[in-house]
Amino acid sequence: MKKIFQLALGIITSVGGFLEIGSVTTSAQAGAQFGYRLLWPILFGTICLIFLIEMSGRLAAVSKHTIVDALRERFGFPFFFVVLVGIALVAFMVLIAELGGIGFALQLLTGISFPLWALPVSFFVWLLMWKGTFSLIENGASLLGLVTLSFAVAAIKMHPDWSGVASGLLPTMPEADKARYGFLTVSILGATISPYLMYFYSSGAIEDEWDRSYIPMNRVIATFGMTFGGFLSMAVLVAAALALQPRGIQVDTFPQAALLTTTALPRWGFYLFALSMLFACFGAALEISLSIAYFFSQGFGWNWSEDLEPSKNSRFAFVYTLIIILAAIPLLLGVDPIKVTMMSMALTSATLPFAIVPFLFLMNDPIYLGKFRNGWISNSVVAIVILISFALALISIPLEIIGG
């Protein structure tokens, strides 16, 4: 009975925690500019994510290692340190974007400009990290994030052309704006396949003391949670394609994105959008802060657990305190979170090979996984992710500049 409850909670929180500023922004921009054409990177990214999340949970349940623990142990500290710097920097940029997203959501609700929210928002995120437990962060924020289901309601209420939606699931090239199309593809994949999710998930499995009996549950949570989450990203794109594209509105700023749901849900659409962004970005900010703290603490061999008192793992608490303070600074200076989001999503794509190649080695290592090593399907999917992410890494920087 306990496991059924955990399973249901795991799926619900995966859905509620799926959307964040990156997935909303990239999907909204894609739908507003290219209609349904960019549904395929969401589909592709979600399939890859299902495999990667399942592997992260399996590694933790079988080997009792988080990904970071195992990476450091298997490849040595110098190699790990290179990976650490790259991934932590990108995750830090994503944190800036998420805190900015919370500020923008509060600006929509109150009219008070988002830089003024930088300090109170950062303080509140830090306070929850300091006082909260892992389950509060994992479940509380994600349950609030279920308000993002309003995007699915909005998309369905606008009666999309389902054959058009289906055709968007197959890759096609537009006649014009090819560079922008490529950049948005890169950004959507970066937003969907975020390495921090893998680190968070494997650390969470250790925090929740998973063992081999959790392997079937892990598979179901990864499959259903990520699939429903992917549907929500698609719903944002479909809503943008129907509400904004016919009017020629591009999503360059948050006030433009806020119009996404006002047509389909006239009475509550604006407020549901603002609340969706507030809770989605809030949950993501907590998860990313925690992931970076996990990353450093596990990498350097310090004590770590969100369930411990800060005095018992002071270096872990110091890391998240420091990064939250640092992330607030650019927002105080008025840096546009949407621009940071788009840059960080493209850079996420660029760092995917560094995160995933060593992970593939780990997942095939009998010392860590024994008979639970990857099968050919998992390996093939991960290999495809590696190939694509290498290609994306090569093209994402110039595309970022062309994309503006």
Partner: protein, 133 residues
């Protein structure tokens, strides 16, 4: 060696400023944003502050993009027509922002109707620039 030559070349090409078609798309986007935000306000579905801030942002952005575009207007459009439609649009948007503060829905509706006419013209201009490039 070729690789070292290709990378700066790609970056140099990539660093190009926005084209006239992209600028016209941005102008259309902001005029339409003002129109949609105005519609939403008239239906009482968005707060006053959001509407006013969005209208002011549209006005400022149109001023900036319009000034850039009019420095070297595309040959396919009459720059006097573009200047005139931009000036009118910005005027309607500024009036709408003022009328939100006054909560004057009837006059707001009139300005919105006028903005709609200019929006059509902007769409045609954007189409003509897009098809000529």
């Amino acid at each position: 060696m070729k690789r070292f030559l290709v990378v700066p070349l790609v970056l140099a090409v990539a660093c190009k400023p926005p084209t006239a078609a992209e600028q016209m798309d941005s102008i259309l986007s902001w005029v339409s944003t003002a129109g949609m935000a105005g519609d939403a306000w008239l239906r009482h579905t968005t707060p006053d502050k959001y509407t006013r801030q969005t209208l002011e942002l549209s006005d400022q952005t149109l001023l900036q993009i319009g000034a850039d575009l009019l420095k070297s207007p595309p040959p396919s459009i009459d720059s006097a027509v573009l200047d005139s439609v931009l000036t009118r649009s910005r005027f309607h948007i500024a009036q709408m922002a003022r009328l939100v503060v006054e909560k004057n829905a009837p006059d707001f509706q009139k300005q919105l109707d006028s903005l709609r006419l200019d929006q059509k013209l902007v769409k045609e201009l954007a189409g003509s620039v897009g098809s000529s490039q």
